[in-house]
């Protein structure tokens, strides 16, 4: 029996990606392609990766890893003077599936804007939403139309957890405040763990869902390659949530070699607790020459974006061969 709706779904699926490409190309971003097989990665303790082996000259095996994001290669291009670039790459994250919002192999859109900070990148993303809504995905216009809601992380904690995150820079203070707010906190945790437990238990489920929401200024104590804010304990970072689903993550990128070296060292240490170990990218720290202009980078889950634009609740609605079907 043939699937009568298949052809239409394939066309719509293909056009969704080509509309994204068209949007960035029309704005002067150059589409790039970078390796998905890599001899080293950026250490990210929360992300398990896939390891494989290259049979090199003389049959000498070399360990290689599938990229969890194309960041390491795209930053090298930007540092070498590429100007604004974008890519929709296959990315791979190992570990827990069992969730309608995760597929181990997925499409990640990354774009880098030179001379621009993280807040300006919100405008670029609002423009992309408007473009998609006017290109045939207008069914969910009410929930997806810009302007996005904007809320700082501190405002979100004040509003939904009832305490001031800025005043909780010690883990003890944070755990005490979270317990008073009714969150079950573990006996021992790092600041980052306590923050995420409080955020995931009382803040994230309460975030407004009537329009896309940009949550700005994450704590600088959550280690990332985002640059620190000029004032306060914050990083120049935002995330976009649509209908409670995390869609995109953006930084004003840290370009200072010393700061990046320190981050990679610390994250490399924490990465030792992961199941799959990998060689650490030691070229990233020096990717940007001294005095490089401000640059912002955004990573966006394309499958998740297509899911929310199609009104689906699960990635299975937009992925042609979901992992759970092909690897039951």
């Amino acid at each position: 029996m043939t699937d009568a709706g298949l052809r239409g779904r394939l066309e719509s699926h293909a056009r969704f990606a080509s509309e994204i490409r068209g949007y960035f190309t029309a704005r002067g971003y150059v589409e790039v392609e970078t390796p998905t097989l890599s001899p080293f990665l950026i250490p990210e303790p929360a992300i398990e990766v896939f390891q494989t082996e290259y049979l090199g000259p003389g049959g000498h095996p070399r360990d290689l890893w599938l990229i969890p994001s194309p960041e390491l290669w795209m930053k090298r291009l930007v540092g070498r003077g590429s100007g604004n670039i974008f890519q929709i790459s296959r990315s791979f994250r190992n570990g827990d599936v069992g969730s309608p919002l995760h597929n181990p192999e997925f499409r990640l859109l990354e774009w880098y804007t030179v001379g621009s900070g993280y807040v300006e990148s919100i405008d670029v993303l609002e423009g992309l939403f408007s473009h998609l809504l006017s290109s045939g995905w207008e069914k969910r216009t009410r929930q997806l139309s810009p302007p996005f809601h904007r809320l700082t992380m501190n405002e979100a904690f004040q509003r939904y957890a009832g305490f001031d995150l800025a005043g909780c820079q010690d883990v003890e203070d944070l755990v005490r405040a979270a317990r008073r707010a009714g969150v079950r906190m573990p006996e021992e945790s790092t600041w980052e763990e306590a923050f995420h437990i409080a955020f995931l238990t009382s803040v994230e489920p309460a975030l407004p869902r009537d329009a896309p929401l940009v949550l700005l200024d994450y704590p600088s104590l959550v280690p990332t390659t985002a640059r620190r804010a000029a004032a306060g304990p914050w990083a120049q970072r935002w995330e976009l949530f649509v209908d409670g689903v995390e869609i995109a993550n953006c930084y004003t990128e840290e370009t200072d070699t010393e700061a990046l070296t320190a981050l990679l060292r610390e994250e490399g240490e924490r990465k030792k607790a992961s199941r799959v170990q990998h060689a650490v990218d030691d070229g990233l720290a020096a990717a940007f020459p001294r005095g490089f202009p401000t640059v912002s980078g955004t990573a966006l889950g394309v499958d998740r974006l297509e899911m929310v634009f199609s009104g689906e609740k699960s990635l299975e609605g937009v992925i042609l061969f979901p992992f759970s079907d092909i690897v039951p």
Binding site: A46, R184, H196, L200, T201
Partner: protein, 187 residues
């Protein structure tokens, strides 16, 4: 002990010495920092619900429970009555909060019931069960659009969306988690 990452819907864990059953489990990976599971847990004794977030590598205290083979006898307004198939002892489980299971309880059918300290706490349904269609409208002649469906009623009152060729008296296989029709079963 059980790892937080291994807790699934239906897993029993002990919190403050109270048995809880996991009713929702969501894997959350903020990407930066650590990975977590967000759990919704129901207190088996009081029915109260709590939400908590654990790191995937956290250890939680699991509950040792016993599974018994029992026969479903009947349902009244407040509870489901069963009989232990070994001891013939009868007991009931409150139906509050478990109303959706009524559609899958067939008179005289055997089920697994979970006991904690001699108290029945949960009815385990097989993932797939066979039901007999008690009411089905006849398909319109000539209606051959592929994928067309209708809603039928089974002997327990369960309503299922099925293909048009299913008729009264047919036996069908149903997924008890999704309530979806799987296939027609030959007699």
């Amino acid at each position: 002990m059980i790892k937080a990452s291994d807790v699934a819907k239906g897993t029993f864990i002990l919190i403050n010495n109270q048995p809880h059953v996991c009713v929702e489990r969501e894997y959350v990976n903020p990407g930066k920092g650590s990975a977590f599971v967000r759990l919704k847990l129901k207190n088996i004794k009081t029915g109260s619900v709590l939400r908590q977030t654990n790191k995937v590598q956290d250890n939680l205290e699991d509950v040792s429970v016993e599974y018994k083979e029992v026969q479903f006898l009947y349902a009244d307004a407040e509870s489901y009555a069963f009989m232990d198939t070994k001891t013939y002892e009868q007991f009931s489980i409150p139906s509050e909060g478990e109303e959706e299971k009524r559609d899958f309880l067939k008179d005289g059918e055997n089920y697994q019931v979970v006991f904690w300290e001699q108290t029945p706490i949960d009815i385990k349904l097989p993932t797939k069960m066979v039901f007999t269609v008690s009411e089905a409208e006849r398909a319109e002649r000539g209606d051959t659009v592929s994928g067309a469906t209708k809603v039928i009623t089974c002997e327990t009152g369960l309503k299922v969306k099925v293909p048009l060729f299913i008729k009264t008296g047919d036996r069908i296989l149903v997924n008890t988690e999704t309530r979806e029709y799987q296939e027609r079963v030959n007699n």
